[in-house]
Symmetry: C2
Subunit: 122 residues, 2 copies
Amino acid sequence: MLIRIDYQDARPIYEQITAGFEKLILSGVLEPDEQLPSVRGLAVELSTNPNTVQKAYAALERNGFIYTVKGRGNFVSGNVSLINERKRSMREQIEAILKEADELGIDRKELLEGLGGKGKND
Amino acid sequence: MLIRIDYQDARPIYEQITAGFEKLILSGVLEPDEQLPSVRGLAVELSTNPNTVQKAYAALERNGFIYTVKGRGNFVSGNVSLINERKRSMREQIEAILKEADELGIDRKELLEGLGGKGKND
DNA sequence: TGAACTGTACTATTTGTGTTAGTACAGTTA
DNA sequence: TAACTGTACTAACACAAATAGTACAGTTCA
């Protein structure tokens, strides 16, 4: 069970599937050219519909996480820039929060206190 | 025009209204006991429906941002703890992003580089 | 008192998204 | 050929967001 659906999660199923595979691919659990479960197979496994899985896979391909070979299956792409794009996206998210903090008169330093590292300084 | 609706924004209208007033209240633009636009008045102003505004106001009251007096209107509450709750919520959001970074093997320090303050250190 | 405001509470309808279901077609593998 | 793979449709259902309309209750003020 590589992927697990959480029905408490507000996100739609197809989005949980894409997010799940994105994490598995970016963290290296799934290696380049490794095959993903088939659309129909994963649908059975997750007790969901092939169309829902298909929608998730289409998004993964659109964003460069996987490539598709018709008749063979879906495979992890060896796209190295993905991790950098994710890093940039995370910085954007944090920057948006800090911008809101600015507008509310909350000090950035105070907000980030103790979030820096794990046992180094701070 | 205190509030502006962005139809590019994926968030529903009622949520944009609550978010807008929350920011105005937390930043002090709207002061305690100051009156908000009437449900019907704001609906006309935003070219939306009174029910939609009502839904937004109900949420604001539920979360302690405003109080309602039937027949008179809605007013900003003088709840001082709201800003601290917001601060806590922001830290949670950032912490969630950093936790994901950990799982992807991205260094927290590197991610937070240069986001600290405005012209002090970092 | 009565008119004109305020909020509140419904019901009905429309629209869009997510999901399910079913069918059909095309390419690959053994 | 049989059994896999992905892809492309259409139809139907559920749900949330939003709109529309009506009705009722409390406040303000002339």
